[in-house]
Symmetry: C2
Subunit: 161 residues, 2 copies
Amino acid sequence: MILGNQVEWALHCVMILASAPKGKLLNSKALADFHGVPKEYLSKCLQMLSQAGLVKTTTGPYGGYSLAKAPAEISFLDVVEAVEGKTKTFKCNEIRRNNPCLAKSDRKFTKLCDIAKVMHEADEAWRRSLRERKLSDITNYLADGVSKETISNFTEWLEEN
Amino acid sequence: MILGNQVEWALHCVMILASAPKGKLLNSKALADFHGVPKEYLSKCLQMLSQAGLVKTTTGPYGGYSLAKAPAEISFLDVVEAVEGKTKTFKCNEIRRNNPCLAKSDRKFTKLCDIAKVMHEADEAWRRSLRERKLSDITNYLADGVSKETISNFTEWLEEN
């Protein structure tokens, strides 16, 4: 069970947008170049973030993406679910219904299967952990431990893009 | 991100083995019939449980599977990892290394990426939840809320298989 690469791309994109000065717009080409990922696939990913209300798009020749909310209001779960959807990680196919020993009167299952219950609890533990962490928890995303040269390159890059 | 069906099959199989009288062996055909799943695929799943040391195989015409440990010593995580492996749910492809602004001196990354850190924490929350739940936590797996007829059918089925 592994999340798609697009989750990683989406998280890095929102972190770049969170690290850029307020009002700065970055288009999909700039974001793709910055992360070394294919623009066509990244565009789809950015559209999903937009549909989920996490980023907003400004059109026009100098248009691009910016965060739609403050970094403290965007959780990791918001980003993961925007890309991967909200489907639970365990799909219960109700194979208990195939049990050949079941009397007719016992074939109506109203309670959730105990196995699915445990699996869904774990799913919720995963989501809770991601819900508790906000983009703002990652401070100094681009400047942490890097040289002045990198920071100055980034400032320049922002001016050019 | 969804777990494969085999996780559901594996969990139901170990619960049946945990519910059967001590020493009872069930072969893959019986377990496949009971759950209405294809025997060939279920066999592979049972082999994985065996490789992980959760079930043991007794060969011969009356051979079959039994639990290799007490139900209180087998966690849901043991079963899930036996089938799905231990690979983390988030794969960090280190796309931060593609950042064109990085000065040469900043290209050696020793610390884990902050994004991967958050994602791995959530993965561990999921595993922790599954690790805390043992097969023995599910009591009355087959007898809970069912009629005497079903219970008697199951006793009969165990004798026949």
